[in-house]
């Protein structure tokens, strides 16, 4: 009966109810988007960092991997030291640089990663195989498309550009042996992977026995923080960065978006709350006569309050369900805008849907709906019966 009464009241003002549900849906969509934004970056970035199981990155002291042009010297010796540690399972040294490939009268430039094919954690081969030989290379789809190359083709590549002399320090003939998906590259960024020694040799004296960073995978069951401390003691000239500390740094750099998400999420919730409060208050004022009649014939105050609260909650729930779909659509659109940040890895999602987010948004909205209905319903159910009846009858 309680539900029938609430339903009858809501359907007696269809346009008003529909508008309220739409208003709540937009608020719910915004709230869901902001909840997704506040946690999406962190989850997405963490998944990306752990995609290949490497929990630690070692960069030149005071820097982040590939954040500057700084490199780490004595790379071979450091690699040996790291591999000798009992809790270290895999060490992947990586040198970053640029490769210039003259093709069809123009030069195609790509980000080059020199590494060890057996232990690398930067890319996944989608066709062909990893570059193991000194004259082999794997490339991204975008590079192969722009350079008009296919797996099996041979190209002439140069590295180590000296702006003072406008010359390259090394030129090689390389054979494309694989097509690769680079995990940490931006969308449409042209990238190639080749053996570490090849890139070091092409970059000349400046890159001899140097790398940009190391990736380290700890053994299963090993304490990552303890491994990090061991590494920092053994190799004092590097900064060891764990997944957690990398996330903290990203959190710091992108704190603006988290705070924006908090502010806009709060505003959305308040707008939804105000909308339902206004609607329920007006609805109660219009139905004061009906309410006092119900009270006069013996309907308990709690029951009257429950009915009105139910109306507010029903609007909130209907709006929230509609807002869920709307929120996912707007999140996709907003994510496509933020994904065009220069240099942002294509795998990073600012808006990542997790069922927990949907439940959080729904829970907050339902709580707001219940709160929105309590005060007006209590006020309506508490008016003096005789006086109100007389006023309503007289008009």
């Amino acid at each position: 009966m309680l539900f029938r009464l609430a339903w009858a009241t809501l359907t007696s003002h269809r346009a008003r109810t529909l508008l309220a549900i739409l208003g709540v849906a937009v608020s719910a969509a915004m709230l869901l988007d902001m909840v997704m934004l506040s946690s999406g970056m962190r989850s997405s970035f963490k998944s990306l960092l752990l995609a290949r199981g490497f929990q630690l990155r070692l960069a030149p002291k005071g820097t982040l991997p590939l954040d500057t042009d700084a490199t780490i010297g004595n790379a071979a010796e450091i690699t040996s030291v790291l591999r000798a540690m009992p809790d270290v399972e895999t060490v992947s040294p990586v040198l970053g640089g640029q490769l210039h490939v003259p093709r069809d009268g123009k030069t195609v430039t790509a980000t080059a990663l020199g590494g060890d094919a057996a232990s690398q954690g930067d890319y996944e081969i989608t066709s062909g195989r990893e570059p193991r030989g000194a004259d082999e290379i794997a490339a991204s789809d975008d590079f192969l498309r722009v350079a008009n190359l296919r797996v099996g083709d041979t190209l002439s590549a140069a590295a180590g550009y000296d702006p003072q002399l406008r010359t390259f320090s090394g030129t090689r003939q390389l054979r494309v042996v694989g097509r690769a998906h680079f995990l940490y590259m931006a969308a449409e960024q042209r990238a190639v992977a080749l053996p570490l020694e090849t890139l070091q040799a092409m970059q000349g004296q400046a890159a001899r026995d140097r790398v940009s960073f190391f990736m380290v995978r700890a053994r299963q069951g090993a304490n990552v923080d303890s491994v990090l401390q061991q590494i920092e003691r053994a190799v004092p000239k590097v900064s060891a960065i764990s997944t957690e500390s990398a996330i903290r740094q990203i959190d710091q750099r992108l704190s603006y978006f988290r705070q924006l998400a908090f502010i806009l999420g709060t505003v959305s919730l308040v707008v939804g709350f105000l909308l339902v409060t206004t609607l329920v208050t007006v609805s109660v004022n219009e139905r004061l006569g009906e309410i006092v009649v119900m009270r006069a014939i013996g309907v308990a105050r709690g029951r009257v309050v429950s009915q009105i609260v139910l109306e507010g909650s029903a609007i909130m729930i209907a709006g929230a369900v509609l807002g869920l779909g709307l929120g996912l659509l707007t999140a996709r659109y907003l994510n496509s805008i933020l994904a065009s940040f220069p240099g942002l890895p294509a795998a990073i999602d600012f808006f990542l849907f997790e069922p927990r987010d949907a439940w959080s948004a729904l829970g907050m909205l339902v709580a707001a709906g219940i709160l929105a209905g309590i005060y007006p319903s209590w006020r309506g159910a508490s008016v003096p019966i005789a006086t109100t009846l007389r006023e309503e009858a007289v008009g």
Partner: protein
């Protein structure tokens, strides 16, 4: 380091470096000064590596970060040193990372345009300057100095891509907010007009035209919209002050994060007025299209009333 080199190259030419005197002076980021408790005149040791051998310098001034969006998220401290000292400290040789140049228009009697050292890299003067700058860029790039000259404006466009993305994101959020506001406003107007259905019924029975009632509701809606937008502007102005106060503290920058300009205020008021009028029109037309008697009784003939029996 780059900033220090740039600053230093702007201060003096390499060939005019006076004989090395110790100790030299250093300008310190005021955030570093606050965090490290530094005062003007304090001696410091600057070195290439933490704890390494270095030079003693004297803090001569504090500098404040510029209101530059590209520096907001960067937490590192900055210092400005003399060019020769930094080159010596980091073993950089007779090298700099880049030069900033200021192009001048051709002065009277001077045969060709020329370029000179400039501390700010800004263009000044009349409309002939872009051509002068183009000429200077062409001449620098044509000479095999190993330099590549870029126009400051092109670099600014390149480095502002991040903020264009943020700006597009804000615009998208703004559109969603406008949609939510429009629905909210329509809902409120519908409620307000619904409250007066008996008055409207009486007016219609007295012979007042539907057009007059619609206009009256629209006037009321416009007043609500204008008063609401004025209140919203006051709230926005207060929010802006709070946002700027908060983020300036968080990022320790003089940058204004939020700004209420006259154009934005006017846009908000016009938008609110248009939405209010539209909402008032829709709500009023809906009401005046109903028969006056139906408005008076509050129920349609084809809909059964909610019976008291349902409450038992």
């Amino acid at each position: 380091m780059l900033a220090a080199l740039l600053a230093a190259v702007a201060l003096q030419q390499i060939d005019s470096v006076p004989p090395h005197r110790a100790p030299r002076t250093l300008v310190v980021d005021e955030r570093l000064a606050a965090d490290a408790g530094l005062e003007i005149g304090d001696p410091l040791i600057v070195s290439r590596t933490p704890g390494g051998v270095g030079d003693t310098v004297i803090v001569s001034a504090f500098m404040r970060r510029r209101a530059d969006p590209s520096e907001v998220a960067r937490a590192e401290y900055r210092v400005r040193m003399h060019l020769d000292e930094l080159q010596s400290l980091i073993d950089y040789g007779d090298r700099v990372d880049r030069f900033a140049l200021l192009s001048h228009p051709e002065p009277p009697g001077h045969p060709e345009p020329y370029v000179a050292d400039a501390p700010q890299g800004r263009l000044r003067g009349g409309s002939a300057l872009p051509a002068v700058t183009d000429s200077a860029i062409r001449r620098i790039n044509a000479a095999a100095f190993g330099f590549q000259a870029h126009r400051s404006r092109d670099i600014a466009v390149e480095t502002s891509q991040t903020f264009l993305v943020v700006s597009r994101f804000h615009r998208a959020i703004g559109v969603i907010t406008i949609v939510a506001s429009a629905i909210f406003l329509l809902c409120i107007m519908l409620l307000k007009v619904d409250e007066r259905r008996r008055d409207v019924a009486a007016l219609r029975l007295m012979g007042i035209s539907a057009g007059s009632i619609t206009r009256s509701v629209m006037v009321e809606a416009s007043v609500v919209a204008v008063v609401g937008s004025v209140l919203g502007l006051v709230l926005g102005w207060i929010s802006t002050a709070i946002i700027n106060w908060h983020y300036r503290g968080v990022y320790r920058t003089p940058l204004a994060f939020a700004l209420v300009t006259p154009q934005i205020a006017l846009l908000a008021m016009m938008l609110s007025l248009i939405l209010g009028l539209a909402a008032g029109f829709v709500a009023a037309r809906r009401l005046v299209s109903m028969p006056p008697l139906e408005l008076l009784t509050g129920r349609r003939d084809d809909r059964p009333p909610v019976s008291a029996a349902a409450t038992r």
